[in-house]
Amino acid sequence: MPGSILGTAVVRVEDPDLLTGRANFVDDLPISGVLHLTFVRSPVAHARVRSVDMADARAMPGVVAVFAAEDLGLPPYQGLMVLNPACERQPLATDKVRFVGDAVAVIAAESRAAAIDAAEAVVVDYDELPPAIDPERALAPDAPLQFEALGTNRAAAMHAGSDDDVLAGSDVVVRGRFENQRIAVMPMEASAIAVVPGDDGNGHDLTVYVSTQMPHGVANKLSETLGLPVETIRVIAPHVGGAFGGKPGLAAEHLVAVGVARHLGRPVKWIETRSENLVAMPHGRGQVQYVELGCKHDGTIVGLRLRIVGDAGAYAGFGGALALGPTRIMAQGVYRIPAISFDAAVAVTNTTPMGAFRGAGRPEAAALLERIVDLAADELDIDPVDMRRRNFLQPSDFPFTTVVGTTYDSGDYEAALNEALRHAGYDELRAEQRQRRMRGDRWQLGIGVSAYVEVTAGGAGSEFASVTIDTDGGATIRVGTSAHGQGHATSFAMIVADRLGIAMDQVRFVQSDTSEVPRGGGTGGSRSLQLAGNAVVGAADLVLERARQLAAQLLEANPDDIVMTDDGRLAVAGVPASALSWERVAAAAADANEPLAAEFDFRQEGATFPFGAHVAVVEIDVDTGAVRLLRHIAVDDCGRILNPLLVAGQQHGGIAQGVAQALWEQYVYDEQGNPLTSNLADYGMPSAAELPSFETLNTETPTPLNGLGAKGIGESGTIGSMPAVQNAVIDGLSYLGVRHIDMPCSPQRVWSAIRDARAGTLPPVWREPPPVFNSTRDTAGAGVAAEAADDIDI
């Protein structure tokens, strides 16, 4: 787009407020008379609740009320999707608690301190039950049941793809059991909600300020759950301090907060503490993957057999369904794979419910593919890069429908890999690796490669935007997405500046308020630019059309002859002196009693499929197992780029989280279900000191599915980096015979692998999957959850 602002690096318009402390997050809002809520949470993973004694707590100074489930009488909580209706969750536990952190009662007090003190005075009599913590063991026939009526801990199961032996005809079959570990979402702002009940004078009976990705989703779910007309609920997301999939609409605690506020008729707020966040906010990932890849001697892939155990946590958290949805639909990845057989079984466990974390099921697919391809390359003695090149789908293949039924829009996988290798200096890196090995250096070099494709803006694929020309000649954009760090105020203003010639500082941006924006899907699944961005384009174009008609009337010309001048005014072609400002045209519209404004709902025919290739370079101390990430090269293709500054930011953040999972992060429970990583000191989230500055590049392969040619970028960095880094660590130790290390590749695990390799006692990379898969092929009813899971956009 020559001469256009689109495609250029524009600094963010939202920064100044955030940089000066003026920006309000939920806990910063002044709400007079607000009560503070604190939850009484279960210290045990699985127990029957005998009694809840709230008398002492109620008598404490500053305490206004204490509620257990029966005091509020709230309907069951429903999250983003229901994986299994038999695993119903009450917003406050009734008969049983099912994970450490399960809420049993709630305190409303005049101060936060009073609420916390009172929570400790609530005495709950727990009758402890044996817990099921490990998802594979939870599926064993003798495991303690979380829902007795269900008769099993298997919340869902499915079979998809081929019914035949997909490995038949292979010369070699490589097999691996991989853990894609449970991790914490950890937005720096934890959950937060403030509820103001009662008439706001504007037709609302309930006003909710909430830290969320999906304000309309919260309003709709509250309306559905509480039976309130949705137009009486106003939901506002002020500034949101990160979400990453962890704030996808209504949380169980939100429902309680609304219940308490309505019960007391007073405003309340719940600001989650960090320790609470680590047990209460749904976790992400949590898959055990049994992967078998059949190949010819030359590396050509013959077939892929997958059996996956998904951990849904307590109450069948919707994250458990991600194995059935995104992981399945992305199971073919970037390769020609003639046949895939896919089975998954999802377990409820006595752990924090599972939800989404950046990538939500797609990183899990990319990770298993990139790991097994590396194992095959190792087995066949083919360079991992060559192994990939021999099997890539080619640009001429698109649009391409995979054997699991997913239709990819566009791609050039080899180009991205070539670019990453060129930038990394792959051959020189391999040469240095050989030298270090020959010298027997203490710090050995590992080089990891990954190639991935992922899916963005799946599901319903529609979004709202409106553009209004204000009386001062500026414009107001309203969108149904809800940015929380992605820079939408900037990118959408760029679009209006481009289409209408209105300067960016004249563009106002409205989002995240259900009373200002009629509908919206929020921000998740890397959907925002491609859906809302194109909706802004649509609305701006409609506005322009109307403006040309108005200008034509004013100038007594034909609308077809009205053009936009270089300085953003409307004039008769060839007569620059006739130019009218937007202010003038807007005034004419106002005189005609029809404000200059347009709405547009952009609907996209199908999802888009960003892709890319990453190269990670690590150094491994073979004496201690310490790993240092030296370089990380990312080539991410998100279609046509609107603002490279914002794209790089998303790449950085995504990579940081993928690297963190590969090397450090894991949410750990002991055998009894006690969390061992429930604060920032125990949980290995990286700081700047652990990460290098990443080398982020892009190729640009536009999607044909929207006018901007844009695909999503929010999650690519995570999806590409995690397998590249894991592969790099294993590659660095391959000369010792190490073939696999599960994530996180912590010093302890790496050191153990080195020790075992030297002693010739490396554990096998494969073992037979649990018997649960003997019956996944004849499971009825699981298809519903799978289809719903396909549509998840987090």
Binding site: D28, D117, F244, A656
Partner: protein, 167 residues
């Protein structure tokens, strides 16, 4: 009723004078109130963020007598008669501090929740003379976590200010 509950766990109130961003505030607070809560809940200075309240994230970083401290681990009473600078006090007369400017230019923030802490920490680090290399910046900013992963650009922003010598 337990003995603890009966007492309501009140601690004695203490009087202290906090000089925050150049203004003196006389406060009478429970002796357990942290500087962070004093700022946020008693002085309406909500720019300083609470990311953990456990001294592990750096979101609450402010300057006390020019040195960076975690305000969640500092009692308000300890700051009697000391100069506290928060994010609200950094820009003067509407002109952003060079570190704030650099964060815009280098895109050193995304959601912005960790940002006040990052900036206060960066300002102090520049005074400490610890911004001599990218690695130094990374090491001496390691107490300020950013889940959005804006680290590369935060480092670039700080280095740019250091290079111009205008911390």
């Amino acid at each position: 009723m337990t003995e603890l509950a009966a007492k309501g766990r009140r601690s004695p109130e203490v009087a202290s004078t906090l000089h925050v961003n150049g203004r003196a505030h006389r406060l009478h607070l429970d002796s357990r109130v942290t500087l962070l809560d004093a700022l946020r809940e008693h002085l309406d200075l909500t720019g300083t963020k609470k990311g953990c309240d456990q001294g592990a994230c750096g979101a609450c970083t402010v300057l006390v007598d020019g040195k960076r401290v975690l305000s969640c681990l500092t009692l308000a009473a300890q700051c009697d008669d000391r100069e506290v600078t928060t994010i609200e006090g950094l820009a003067s007369h509407g002109v952003l501090h060079p570190v704030q400017e650099a964060f815009i230019r280098h895109d050193g923030l995304q959601c912005g929740f960790c940002t006040p802490g990052q900036i206060m920490s960066a300002v102090a680090l520049l005074h400490e003379g610890r911004a001599g290399s990218d690695d130094d910046v990374r090491e001496f900013m390691s107490g300020n976590l950013c889940r959005c992963g804006a680290y590369p650009n935060i480092v670039a922003a700080i280095r740019a200010v250091a290079a111009r010598g205008s911390g």
